[in-house]
């Protein structure tokens, strides 16, 4: 996927000017937030579960190598294959080779952000293998040649009418006068079209919400059941997952699952929670003949032991973006790469470089709502600040910002000079603010473009206070 993060400001401007997008983003605000709040409220132990989920992921990350090896051993024992992919290119090559080894012409796909990260669809298509997305949102996005704008609701930026138009454009074999006015009619049409694809597919590729080290199991949660059909019907099932998806045991899994759906959609559990362990065994009624797991690193292991390690706790619920005022304003595509919102603002610089993704950790008000709802308590604002520190020390931020800040800090570190400068400057500024505010002000265009600037009352507090104290002293004498 083309990296458009350096153009964040331009992307934002375009998004803010898009009335349809604004309307679509209202649903994120009204829907997800209320549902999560109700789900959290309804479960007395929810906050404790957040603590234990955090602890489970921390313990996993502290011993990641051990758990990954244990996982591999178990997958191998159950007849599956684990493939280690250091980079996106490695993962693409591994997957293509597996597809080619069975002469695959079409592959069905369950929802996977890792697949977006490694740009799998374009690569497979370029090599003669047709990928078919089976998650409704992903299917719509694929028809439109777009990328997801949200990690759990990929088509959240679209209106129903846009989807209807896409379906009429692509599903030309269906009656023209069919009714597509309700979302459910769109869903059932997609189901009908996709049903045939499941049976044609030679390979099914899914992501994984979790990998269980104890049993060598991969776990997906979905609401449409498309993941099950994707991984059960074809001859080959490929699980594509990043290394931090590991949890140690099934018991740990059951804890983390309890916070995942509640944080994401406000459901107690997603409609389908599917555990797969290896290929079809003798006597199994169904299942794939081959079971492959492609484990992607792509820069994650280099986050271990740094100030960004805690980011690897992320279970991709999307709660941070659902609660983010910046995401609500500009939507997911503005962030310019795979992962939007607060989690993306921390993760993206790790994966593509802070030189390219520098805007992302800066475009936050640090309101802290993301951290307040994160099911594994990732300190997202703190980590965005760490990225700002790295940018500052590498001089990546604009020179005007740096000099402005340095000039301000020069005074802030020297109280006497600061007092002197402000006691002269502020009364002068106040004098010019005749009506109590400024419509425009030199060097404050960023502020006054959209709002008035309140003028200083008059003299500084310190000037007034000194005078008051002096008068008190005088009165005493």
């Amino acid at each position: 996927m083309e990296i458009r993060s350096p153009a964040f400001k331009e992307n934002a401007r375009a998004a803010l000017d898009d009335p349809q997008l604004r309307h679509a983003l209202e649903h994120v605000k009204s829907g997800f937030i209320v549902k999560r709040a109700m789900a959290a409220e309804a479960l007395p132990e929810f906050e404790k579960l957040r603590d234990s989920s955090k602890a489970i992921k921390d313990e996993t990350l502290a011993n990641l190598d051990k758990y990954l090896e244990a996982y591999e051993t178990k997958v191998t024992e159950s007849g599956g294959h684990v493939h280690w992919a250091e980079s996106a290119a490695d993962a693409r090559d591994i997957i293509l080779k597996i597809c080619q080894s069975v002469g695959a012409r079409t592959v069905t796909k369950g929802k996977s952000m890792i697949s977006e990260e490694i740009e799998l669809n374009d690569f497979l298509e370029g090599n003669g293998v047709q990928p078919v997305e089976t998650d409704l949102g992903e299917y719509i996005i694929q028809l439109r040649g777009e990328h997801p704008s949200h990690i759990i609701a990929p088509a959240v930026h679209l209106a129903r009418s846009q989807v209807e138009a896409d379906f009429r454009r692509v599903h030309t074999h269906l009656p023209v006068d069919r009714d597509l006015t309700e979302p459910v009619t769109l869903l059932s049409e997609a189901r009908k079209v996709l049903r045939a694809k499941y049976f044609q597919a030679d390979v099914g590729i899914t992501g994984a919400n979790f990998l269980v080290a104890e049993t060598g199991t991969s776990v997906i949660v979905t609401n449409e059941g498309n993941g099950d059909l994707t991984q059960i019907l074809p001859k080959v099932h490929i699980v594509l997952a990043s290394i931090e998806k590991i949890v140690p045991t099934l018991s740990d899994l059951s804890q983390v699952l309890r916070v995942l759906a509640r944080s994401a959609t406000g459901q107690d559990m997603s409609v389908y929670t599917t555990l797969s362990t290896g290929p079809r065994r003798a006597g199994d009624p169904d299942g794939p003949e081959q079971y492959h797991v492609v484990l992607l690193d792509n820069g994650r292991s280099s986050m271990i032991g740094t100030e960004f390690q805690e980011m690897l706790r992320c279970i991709r619920c999307g709660a941070c973006m659902n609660h983010c005022p910046v995401y609500h304003a500009v939507g997911g595509h503005t962030y310019g790469w795979v992962y939007p919102g607060p989690m993306g603002s921390v993760l993206t610089p790790s994966l593509i470089g802070v030189d390219k993704a520098g805007h992302l950790p800066n475009a936050s008000t640090f309101c802290g709502r993301c951290e307040a709802v994160c099911p594994v308590r990732i300190p997202l604002p703190k980590m965005m600040r760490h990225w700002r520190e790295r940018e500052f020390s590498r001089r990546l931020n604009p020179a005007t910002q740096r000099y402005g800040l340095k000039a301000w800090a020069f005074f802030a570190r020297r109280p006497r000079l600061y007092r002197l400068a402000t006691s002269i400057g502020i009364p002068v500024l106040s004098l010019f603010g005749g009506r109590g505010r400024f419509k425009s002000l030199p060097l404050a265009g960023g502020w006054t473009r959209h709002r008035d600037m309140p003028a200083p009352e008059g003299r500084t507090f310190m000037q007034e206070w000194k005078q008051r104290e002096a008068q008190k002293q005088g009165a005493r004498i």
């Binding site: 400001k9 934002a12 401007r13 803010l16 910046v326 609500h328 304003a329 500009v330 800066n362 475009a363 936050s364 008000t365 640090f366 309101c367 802290g368 709502r369 951290e371 307040a372 600040r385 990225w387 700002r388 520190e389 790295r390 500052f392 020390s393 931020n397 910002q401 800040l405 340095k406 800090a409 005074f411 802030a412 570190r413 109280p415 600061y418 007092r419 402000t422 502020i426 603010g433 005749g434 009506r435 109590g436 505010r437 960023g446 502020w447 473009r449 959209h450 709002r451 008035d452 600037m453 309140p454 003028a455 200083p456 009352e457 008059g458 500084t460 507090f461 310190m462 007034e464 206070w465």
Partner: protein, 257 residues
């Protein structure tokens, strides 16, 4: 248990740079509220800013230098109180994180334990449960992010406001959502900040209140500036001004006719 009476307890007022420069009346209102609660208030002249602009821009070196100065200036007081959740949050939650270990880490820890935001100091430490003032009319209260989420301030200002004579609180929808100020954010990303503050002024209008209050001058200047650009006649004030009964100065962004 400390047996000192409040009068013998000294509060160092951390004025905050915005109050110092833009709205001294908030500083005087804070002094009055603290003195009325029985504390001796001092305003050390060596204070400047809490260092957030540097801290949130990734400039750790300047932040640490400013933090040391602030700690030196205030560490001998019994309490350090700021009329801002954001600055108090910086002093209380972020200063200790700046110093890994050694002498300064200890000093920062001891310092931060004594730091409070104004309204929560009044209710939670000073035990104030009412103020003896009158402010007829309706107000709506914006929960500034740092105060709310770093310091847990939500009930405290409302509790005090409920005791003000003639005052009616009309809650706005989503009072806990950011106003889009975000310190340097509002000038680095003015267009995004504008959309967020537009949503906020919509919420303020929906409350139907005549006056908007909050505990942080940065947020208040942002919201006042937007309301006034939109031609709204909602008055904007810091909560301390109302609680101290010191509303004779024109509201934020206004001048005497």
């Amino acid at each position: 248990m400390n047996q000192q009476t409040p009068q013998s307890r000294r509060v160092g007022l951390f004025v905050t740079c915005l109050v110092d420069l833009f709205r001294p009346s908030i500083g005087f209102a804070s002094v009055k509220l603290l003195e009325d609660a029985g504390y001796t208030v001092d305003v050390p002249m060596a204070q400047t800013c809490c260092g957030q602009p540097a801290y949130n821009s990734g400039d750790r070196e300047d932040t640490i230098a400013i933090a040391r100065k602030t700690i030196e200036t205030f560490e001998d007081y019994d309490y350090i109180v700021a009329p801002s959740g954001s600055c108090a949050g910086m002093l209380k939650k972020h200063y200790p994180a700046l110093f890994k270990d050694g002498d300064w880490a200890e000093r920062a820890k001891a310092f931060s334990a004594k730091v409070y935001e104004l309204t929560s100091f009044l209710t939670d430490v000073a035990g104030v449960d009412h103020v003896d003032v009158v402010h007829p009319g309706s107000v709506t209260y914006h929960d500034s992010c740092s105060g709310l989420r770093e310091l847990g301030i939500r009930e405290q200002p409302r509790k005090l406001l409920r005791s003000v004579g003639g005052l009616e609180i009309k809650e706005m929808p989503e009072s806990d959502v950011c106003c889009g100020f975000g310190g340097t954010f509002c000038v680095k990303y003015p267009d995004i900040s504008n959309r967020i503050v537009e949503d906020k002024t919509d919420s303020i209008r929906q409350s139907g209140a005549k006056t908007l209050l909050a505990g942080d001058l940065g947020c208040l200047m942002n919201m006042a500036g937007k309301l006034q650009r939109q031609g709204s006649d909602v008055e904007v004030r810091h909560v301390a001004e109302v609680l101290a009964g010191m509303c004779d100065t024109p509201a934020i962004g206004r001048r005497k006719d």
